[in-house]
């Protein structure tokens, strides 16, 4: 694994940018290319880069998957509570300061749930492939990198 400080610093600097792109994709998805799955993949790539360069090793994959699943299921079931069919779309439109007219719907939380599941999946897979990095004790080959 590359544990060059320059690469690490680069990844650190690039992360917020990538997260911004992910958030943009999440919101833009309704009208432009993007969406929850793409946003999740971008965030997943960020996580993967950070893991591979040894910047950090997130361990909350299960929580993300479970949380995302709960959100998605809640969005699916909620319409039933007020008598609509499962997964019925609710559209809310309002005018906010700065952003102007904003139109969104229950598809947004649904997409957020999808994003969370994808990121969680990526983390869990990385954890699985990379188990020794998550084992608690740092393994011999990157003792100096652990923060």
């Amino acid at each position: 694994m590359t544990q060059s400080p320059i690469v690490q610093q680069g990844v650190r600097l690039a992360s917020p940018l990538a997260i911004a792109v992910a958030i943009y994709l999440l919101f833009a998805g309704h009208n432009n290319p993007g969406g929850g799955f793409a946003a999740g993949l971008v965030l997943g790539s960020v996580v993967a880069l950070r893991v591979i360069t040894g910047v950090d090793r997130p361990a909350w994959g299960s929580e993300l998957v479970a949380g995302g699943l709960l959100i998605v299921l809640a969005v699916a079931v909620a319409p039933v509570l007020w008598g609509d069919t499962v997964l019925d779309q609710k559209i809310v439109s309002s005018t906010l300061p700065i952003l102007g007219k904003v139109k969104t719907g229950s598809a947004l939380p649904f997409d957020i749930g999808v994003t969370a599941i994808v990121v969680g999946l990526v983390i869990l897979v990385l954890q699985g492939l990379h188990a020794e990095h998550y084992a608690g004790e740092p393994s011999s080959d990157h003792k100096g990198v652990d923060r």
Binding site: N31, P33, L69, I117, V118, L129, E132, A135
Partner: protein, 755 residues
């Protein structure tokens, strides 16, 4: 009311599970409330007169007629009295049976109540779905109860055997009920009309076999003696009064559908008589051979259940009435007898009749209960069992021809043997012999047993009241039964003369057999069942070892070969007239890149190089998508490729840098499969493009996505709105995969740590 009572049971289960952690008695008390309430409800309705409109219907899936239907008809009320009345007594009895500090107290009362609730749902059921679901619930809860002492391997084997036989029977029953429902055109049992024809015949066979497994009919009876490993309150409840009656009840309920017309040629009647007759005799013989008092009762139950099924299969009004009476009488006397055997077990520490003796003096109350209940079982006046057996003999006298000979031999021969094993049981356990040391009496065990014994007597004395329960119930099974009742004093008619002869012959036979010291027979049937089960397990393990060999390349080769097979039908469907070289030359350029990367991936020796080459192929694909005007697809593909390459790089850390050398033959196979796959898919795609079916619903979707989805990106609106259910399913798959990966990694990691 049904739902309220079921909710009361569920509440009781929760309360009992909670209280069980503190005290067994508290949990049993908490659990006993719901059955007592249900019994009181049934008794009230009986006194007030039944109101057939008091049924509960909960529709689940309307289109498939999947509906929960509970009825309060006469049958439901009679069975509720038995299930919940005896249930409440069993909870009292269990409080005496278990030491107050018994271990595993947490589960037992709650599980027993869960069984009780399942049984209620079963006897109330008026739809095949409801019936089947609660039928399976009773199988599962009974498995848990039989395996209560789950530290003993023999007990676990018995519990497993019971579950396997009744569970397999449940599947057979499901098939039968589905066929019946489709033939009858409704799933509501009470609305079904008699059926005929070959499908109905198949349904009849399947339902009868399913019922026979539950009601322990030869040759499926092997689970019942094993189930005696359960604590005695369970046996008194499940194996005498309730669960084993489920099959009998089912045969009674659907019998009128299969015997409706005399000449419809259904195998129902004779199949039932075959099961019943075999069970009457083999069960009674078992009861005469065994030396464990509890097993004697269990084998006797097989015999009695056979008698009920024989009479029900005859189907005449009188026979059905007799069977209904025996169901009622048997539940009462057999539960009492089991309670006494449990008391003997607790107070003397053994159930072997050879080790018991002189209990008539040391356990006078138990002796009294056993005599009353035993004589009711043997059909001696003035007890309920006598009146029921008289009805059976009268039913036989009304038959004619071969049916009279077979059924008559069964009823009379079975009764003789019943008197014989009852005599042997009473004499061997309570009669002369070495006086067994006896622990003090437990009041909580005595009270329910005495109550039930008193019912056998009172039921006879108050036969007119009991008739108000039995006759309406029997009339549901067969309207012709409505004219019959239990008769206390028949006068010196043929039936009574036969009864007296039965008592004399049976008593003498029993007396003779008591003197013979025999050792218990080997459980051949049970062993056979266990070996069959083991054989199935071993066989499936071997099949798994062959099919799931664990070699990834072979798995891949298999999957791809199957995919190639799937393309074969398209290969000759081709034609090239509709194909164009490209829409824009840019595509040609990208494809050239893809081809180059693919070739590089195939030939490069380094694993990392291959991973990168594959990534390049994927990226090229996303470029193609983009050129075709699918930016969403392109974006997603690109991101997926990125992540997969990263995953490869991390994963490759565990493997060598280079691919291991491959044998030439295997390499050839792989090349052939690859070429076939590539060609097949290409041809299939070409063929699919030639014959588009219908016109793509693009316009509709585009309009819908703006109107109802509120978005301009059709792809995303499809994912999150129009086809959101698909997405939901997909993310659930993703989540499952995620947790699967995590579990696998954890298992591997702990293996590595351990080694």
């Amino acid at each position: 009311m049904h739902l309220f009572l079921l909710a009361l049971h569920v509440g009781g289960i929760i309360a009992a599970a909670w209280a069980g952690r503190r005290s067994m008695r508290l949990a049993l008390a908490a659990a006993g409330i719901a059955p007592a309430a249900a019994a009181a409800w049934a008794a009230t309705l009986m006194v007030r007169g039944t109101d057939s409109s008091d049924s509960t219907v909960v529709t689940w899936v309307d289109r498939f007629d999947i509906t929960f239907r509970f009825t309060s008809g006469p049958v439901a009320l009679m069975m509720t009295l038995l299930v919940s009345g005896i249930g409440a007594l069993v909870f009292v009895y269990a409080a005496g049976y278990f030491a107050p500090t018994a271990k595993g107290a947490t589960n037992f009362p709650a599980t027993l109540l869960a069984f009780s609730a399942s049984m209620l749902g079963l006897v109330w059921a008026d739809s095949v779905w409801t019936l089947f679901i609660f039928w399976e619930f009773t199988s599962v809860t009974s498995f848990l109860l039989v395996g209560y002492k789950n530290t003993d391997a023999a007990v676990l084997a018995s519990a497993r055997r019971a579950l396997m036989i009744t569970g397999a029977g449940g599947l057979v029953l499901l098939a039968g009920l589905l066929l019946l429902a489709s033939e009858a055109g409704t799933t509501t049992i009470s609305q079904m009309e008699p059926v005929a024809g070959s499908t109905a015949a198949l349904a009849a066979i399947l339902v009868m076999v399913g019922a026979a497994t539950k009601s322990a009919q030869v040759p499926f009876h092997v689970w019942l003696p094993g189930a005696m490993a359960a604590p005695t309150p369970v046996s008194a409840y499940l194996h005498s009064a309730t669960m084993v009656k489920a099959g009998v009840l089912l045969i009674a309920l659907v019998g009128r559908l299969f015997t409706g017309s005399e000449s419809n040629g259904l195998p129902w009647g004779w199949l039932g008589i075959a099961f019943g007759t075999a069970s009457v005799f083999w069960g009674a013989i078992g009861a005469l051979r065994h030396t464990d008092a509890k097993l004697i009762l269990a084998w006797g139950t097989v015999s009695q259940l056979g008698l009920m099924i024989t009479l029900l299969s005859v189907g005449s009004g009188k026979a059905v009435f007799a069977a209904t009476s025996i169901v009622f009488a048997h539940a009462i006397f057999k539960a009492a007898l089991f309670m006494i055997v449990g008391e003997i077990d607790i107070r003397t520490g053994t159930r072997q009749i050879a080790e018991l003796g002189g209990l008539a003096r040391s356990m006078p109350v138990a002796f009294g209960v056993a005599v009353v209940s035993g004589l009711s079982m043997a059909g001696v006046p003035p007890l309920l069992g006598f009146a029921a057996k008289e009805a059976a003999i009268e039913a036989v006298l009304k038959l004619s021809g071969a049916e009279q000979i077979v059924v008559g031999a069964t009823v009379i021969g079975g009764s003789v043997l019943t008197v014989a094993y009852t005599t042997r049981f009473l004499v061997a356990v309570f009669g002369a012999g070495p006086a067994t040391k006896v622990a003090p009496r437990r009041l909580l065990m005595t009270v329910p047993a005495v109550t039930l014994a008193a019912l056998s007597l009172v039921g006879f004395v108050l036969a007119p009241s009991i008739n108000k329960i039995l006759t309406p119930a029997a009339s549901v099974f067969n309207p012709d039964s409505s004219v019959y009742e239990l008769i206390r004093w028949p006068g010196l008619k043929t039936a009574f003369v036969i009864s007296i002869a039965i008592m004399v012959v049976g008593g003498v036979l029993g007396w003779i057999l008591t003197g013979r010291k025999a050792s218990a027979p080997a459980p051949i049937g049970a062993n056979l069942a266990d070996r069959t089960l083991d054989g199935i397990l071993i066989g499936s393990r071997e099949v798994t070892a062959v099919v799931q060999h664990g070699s990834l390349p072979v798995y891949l080769a298999t999957m791809i070969s199957v995919a190639v097979g799937a393309t074969v039908p398209f290969v000759f469907d081709g034609g090239t007239s509709h194909l164009v070289l490209w829409n824009s030359p840019l595509q040609g350029l990208v494809v050239a890149g893809i081809l180059g990367s693919a070739l590089a991936g195939a030939f490069v020796n380094s694993r990392l190089g291959a991973a990168l080459a594959l990534g390049a192929v994927g990226t090229g694909m996303s470029a193609l998508f983009f050129i075709q005007g699918a930016p969403d697809l392109a974006l997603t593909q690109l991101l997926v490729e990125t992540i997969i390459v990263v995953g490869f790089v991390i994963g490759l850390g565990h493997l060598g840098r280079e691919f291991p050398p491959v044998q030439t033959a295997w390499k050839t196979v792989r090349i052939v499969i690859s070429l076939l796959a590539g060609t097949g898919v290409a041809l299939a795609l070409a063929a699919a493009g030639r014959q588009p079916v219908g016109s793509p619903p693009l316009q509709t979707i585009a309009e819908q996505s703006v109107e109802t989805g509120g978005g301009n990106n059709i792809v995303n609106v499809i994912l999150t709105d129009l086809r959101a259910l698909d997405t939901l399913g997909e993310v659930v798959v993703l989540a499952t995969v995620a947790f699967g990966v995590a579990a696998l990694a954890r298992a591997r990691h702990s293996e590595e740590v351990a080694s």
